[in-house]
């Protein structure tokens, strides 16, 4: 068979303005979801290491359930399933943010747990021996150190969640992939457009990597 394919630069470039309209949605779902997921992660990560069983067990259940099921199934459940329970529709954007929040929240809980548990016992003992309360010990001594150790893993999770939002084209949120699909439906230039879509994800994730590297470098001076 003769392959006479030619990369259509014009199609690639002319898709850019249309694809860019998807980026705000991708960013909103990613970072909105991650921000909520981070709060969930702090809460459940700490509950996860609580000595009190009735605090610890629900946290373990949450983590296992949302880490052990696909984010695509979670968003489908929220968008199509939840309305049957609450008796009204769920906005697609809200569903996307919620799915990223509960999914990344489960992973971040484990990152928080690992970070906090990695701090040597002597740090807690020294702070308590100075008369700091448990809360003060955590806030001023344990958490600042744990957070620095968590940055690389948090960055990893951020990148994973950004890419996960690409699945949400299935519920019709106008994010990057969805905009690409719509554009391709009229132009049939799949290769060019998906390449552009891929490059845009790469631009977002590389920016995040770079930002985190700077943060890490700044935070770890002298350590």
């Amino acid at each position: 068979m003769d392959v006479t394919f030619q990369f259509d630069w014009h199609a690639a470039i002319s898709s850019i303005p249309y694809l860019l309209t998807g980026i705000p949605y991708t960013l909103l779902i990613s970072f909105g979801g991650l921000a909520i997921g981070f709060l969930i992660g702090i809460l459940f990560g700490l509950l996860r290491i609580s000595p009190v069983a009735w605090l610890r067990i629900p946290a373990i259940a949450y983590i296992e359930i949302f880490r052990g099921t696909p984010v695509l199934v979670q968003v489908l459940f929220i968008f199509y399933g939840l309305p049957q329970i609450i008796g009204g529709p769920v906005n697609a954007l809200v569903a996307g943010i919620a799915a990223i929040a509960v999914n990344s929240g489960a992973y971040i809980s484990e990152i928080v747990r690992g970070g906090v548990q990695s701090i040597e016992r002597g740090q807690r003992e020294a702070s308590l021996s100075l008369g700091l309360s448990r809360t003060q010990s955590f806030r001023y001594v344990i958490w600042p150190q744990a957070f620095r150790r968590m940055i690389p893993s948090l960055g990893n999770q951020g990148i994973i969640s950004i890419k996960d939002t690409s699945l949400f084209s299935v519920i019709g949120v106008g994010e990057l992939v969805r905009q690409g699909q719509i554009y391709i439906a009229t132009t049939f230039s799949a290769l060019e457009v998906y390449l552009m879509v891929a490059l845009m994800y790469l631009a977002i994730t590389l920016s995040l990597s770079l930002a985190l590297r700077l943060l890490e470098r700044k935070g770890l001076v002298g350590q």
């Binding site: 040597e120 003992e125 702070s127 008369g131 001594v141 002298g222 350590q223």
Partner: protein
Amino acid sequence: MIDIKKKPGAELIVRMEKVNKFFGSLHVLQDIDLSVTHGEVVVIIGASGSGKSTLIRCINGLEEFQHGHIEVDGNQLLPNGKSSKSLQTIRTEVGMVFQQFNLFPHLSVRDNVTLAPIKVRGTSESDAIENADRLLEQVNIADQADKLPGQLSGGQQQRVALARALAMEPRLMLFDEPTSALDPEMIGEVLDAMRELAKAGMTMMIVTHEMGFAREVADRVIYIHKGQIVEQGKPEEVFDNPQNERTQSFLGRVLKH
């Protein structure tokens, strides 16, 4: 010169009565009866695993015990982590220096020293800094105040840890093998600072393997063997004329080199 603020209080600062502690089936402290008077320097010696660190860690509630009771500066510590006042209140009056220094690596030397006075005592930042700089001066480390602990030598770190504990103006200082993690050439500078502190009249309980130092600064030496106080007395009594045969054998082993 280290100077400390003396606060009025009971003659007896620590009173342990029939304190027993178990790690599982291991009986780590057995019927410990021990009283420490104000201004006294008590050195606790014994082999590794004899329970000497556990003993002083019970006094500020870092370890729980199962039977008996401990009175610290008029407050009661009871079995299984219970206490008359909150542990936090008791700990503000009891300073501790650890074998591994345990400085806060993310804070500057000065911030290590000011953290507890500001957050626990409510000292103003300017007063806390002034006090910290004075204490760092006293332990000969004022020029390192803006550095992070990781940039300091072990001996310097331990002197910062001493200043950090003293910043709370404790009535009692506990030392858990303060020189055991130090390179030999740095042990002297830490012992010097502790010697100064003893001279200033601080009540101190010191777990150490430095027998020469113990002989010199201790008002009383206590020998612990397998969780029991086997012998105690003035350093010259315990070191030169030990009565108990286990003390004799322990000292025979550690004083040889």
